[in-house]
């Protein structure tokens, strides 16, 4: 009978903690972001920014009289955790979800939100995100194909590179961006001499870079994340590969500079403007509030893009005078140039954000960015 007692005890603990559903007098907003793990600083940025915005809105009386309650779920940047997060957030009754940072995680969660009618906005740039036709999905950044076109223009037309090497890791975002750039470069009759993949997090990229070096490229475009990009840049210089380095948008992170050390100087990064360069008053105010609350600047532009997604959702609900997500989605598809922190916001029928504001930066000796092409 000892077993009976113990085994049943688990179940009682279970019931005690699990019980007690709450009354719905708040507007629940989910955050799905990599709060821990490799991309922790980006994830924490998103979480902090969403909480800050919620605080600001709550101070003004909330949304349609309801206070916002933020529910965060840490997807650790992995697809499986993202799928679990999606289930958890839906079960907690959120109306909208901000996130995730990576396309992979956004994609893993997408179907669950769609089935539950929960609005989702992400900075993920993978083209496949908007190919499912989910009415719940809104991208607050610009898709890979847009970046691919910009990058190709920069590489082929502006810099006139003759031998282009493209490297990505095999996540859906990085592979997608690599392929988008490859396609766009070929459209401009550029010459691609190498296209390869690395395993993200492997740290030792010297074998691959040695192989690339033997192909004598004059530029290496890396479409993966900063945590690998910084090392690749540093190991490239270490191995005497004299080619230029052009990093895709996810290399735009302070850690890229730290990882690459002195080698960071002279590297190029393609992205939408960094937060400090945003010309809008909304942006300046929000950055000031962020700095005041957290005593740091947001890790990157992605934080602010996600905040814009959330602002658009709330705007839609307020305009409709209803929390209904289907109506909000219809409104968002009609909306024209709603002023955002990162510029005017409009969405295409498939949930893509309209427009493109890419720029190319060069990293200077002091670690600052200089705009070289836009």
């Amino acid at each position: 009978m000892k077993q009976t007692a113990l085994l049943s005890m688990f179940l009682f603990i279970f019931c005690c903690f699990a019980g007690g559903a709450q009354a719905e007098n708040t507007l629940k907003i989910g955050v799905q972001a990599p709060i821990t793990g490799k991309y922790a600083n980006e994830g924490q940025g998103i979480d902090q920014a969403v909480r800050l915005l919620a605080e600001q809105i709550n101070a003004k009386g909330g949304v349609l009289g309801k206070q916002i309650e933020v529910v965060s779920c840490d997807d650790e940047g992995t697809a499986m955790k993202a799928a679990i997060c999606a289930k958890n957030l839906v079960n907690k009754g959120v109306k909208m979800v901000i996130g995730s940072y990576t396309s992979t995680c956004a994609e893993a969660a997408q179907a669950t939100y769609y089935r539950a009618g929960v609005l989702q906005t992400t900075d993920g740039t993978s083209d496949s995100l908007t190919e499912h036709g989910y009415w719940t999905f809104f991208r607050n950044s610009f898709p890979n194909s847009a970046e691919g076109n910009f990058a190709a223009k920069y590489l082929v037309k502006e810099k006139k590179y003759q031998r282009i090497a493209i490297l990505s890791d095999f996540s859906s975002y990085a592979d997608g961006l690599g392929t988008a750039v490859e396609k766009a470069v070929k459209n401009l009759n550029g010459n691609i001499i190498y296209r390869g993949k690395i395993k993200s997090g492997a740290q030792n990229f010297t074998p691959v870079i040695t192989q690339i070096k033997s192909k004598k490229p004059d530029v290496l475009f890396f479409s993966g994340y900063f945590s690998d990009g910084g090392l690749i840049r540093s190991q490239m210089v270490g191995l005497g590969l004299k080619a230029d380095f052009v990093g895709g948008d996810s290399n735009d992170n302070p850690d890229f500079l730290k990882l690459a050390g002195k080698s960071a100087q002279g590297a190029y990064i393609i992205n939408v403007p960094t937060p400090e360069l945003l010309p809008y008053d909304l942006a300046k105010d929000f950055l000031k509030a962020y700095k005041a609350k957290y005593n740091m600047t947001p890790p990157s532009i992605w934080t602010l893009l996600n905040v814009d997604g959330m602002r658009a959702f709330i705007h839609a609900m307020e305009q409709n005078n209803s929390f209904d997500t289907k109506q909000a989605s219809e409104f968002l598809h009609q909306m024209k140039d709603y002023p955002g922190i990162t510029g005017p916001i409009s969405f295409a029928k498939d949930g893509n954000r309209i427009g493109s504001g890419y720029m190319a930066y060069r990293i200077e000796a002091d670690g600052s960015y200089k705009i070289v092409f836009k």
């Binding site: 077993q3 688990f10 179940l11 289930k87 079960n91 994609e107 179907a111 859906s172």
Partner: protein
Amino acid sequence: MKHSDYYGYALFFLALVILPSFLDSRWQAVATTFIIFTIVALSQDVVLGKSGMFNMGQALFFGLGAYTSAICNTKLGMPLLASVPLAIIIPAFFGIILAGPIIHLRGDYLLVVTIGFNIVFVQALQNNLLGLTGGPNGIFGIDTLQIPGVDSGSQAAVYYICLAALVMVLMMLKNLETSKAGRALHYFREDPLAAESIGINTRAYKIFAFALGAGIAGLAGTLYANQYSAVSPEAFDFVQSVLFFSIVIVGGSSVPGIVLGVFVMFVLPEIFRDFATWRYFIFGFAMIFTMILRPCGIWPATYGKVPAYILKGKQHGKK
């Protein structure tokens, strides 16, 4: 098994049956995961606890089952229910193929090779082998298990399907214990040399145990794919295998011990948010203390009427 144990199990299952009516859907989901992981841990126990083979790659077979179902469902359009036999047979088949050449390796080497299998498997998934596995993202949008005549969309229905699977697995393992194969494995675990000398074909039975464990884990894989409607490589990483391995040893290769282990690892973190950050840290200490204080696990398995003097000092195979 004593009579009181029967009451214990009966009460336990009764509690599990009525559980969903006390829980909202979020906690039903936690309870479902709990049952799925219990099945995986039981399958690990067949190989490690019952047969004494140091297998640290059980997540491979779990993942193989999950991916089999996911691929059958999303690529071939098979209903999830129809993929269940395949999700059992394919892992079992791989269990036989993989175990064949390595089964004679001694404890620690076997452990390393099984870790190796697991890593090769995960890397194959990440590399989108044959264009089927969806790369590092895995496969999303898997249908739910449709059982004719049952509304299987709700979380409670998913829970009961998993519970039914758990009951089936437990009944099968109970039968195994008293069968010829079960006794052979037991003798083998206690004393391999003696087992061989009384004419037990240890090689065949070891491979059988591997295949059986793989098949059960494969079944759990289908349930997992059903629960999350997604599968992805990192869920079947070798770190997961390490957890299942530890759960069986710490729990002590008995059903209550395994249930306790799974509960601590997968349910407590959901109840206590703070515990989630601390769980591995605390579990680490628990592992060391349990091994020091109770080297055979918290709840050691008892086996039939083997006289105590035979078993003395011979738990977990040879020292």
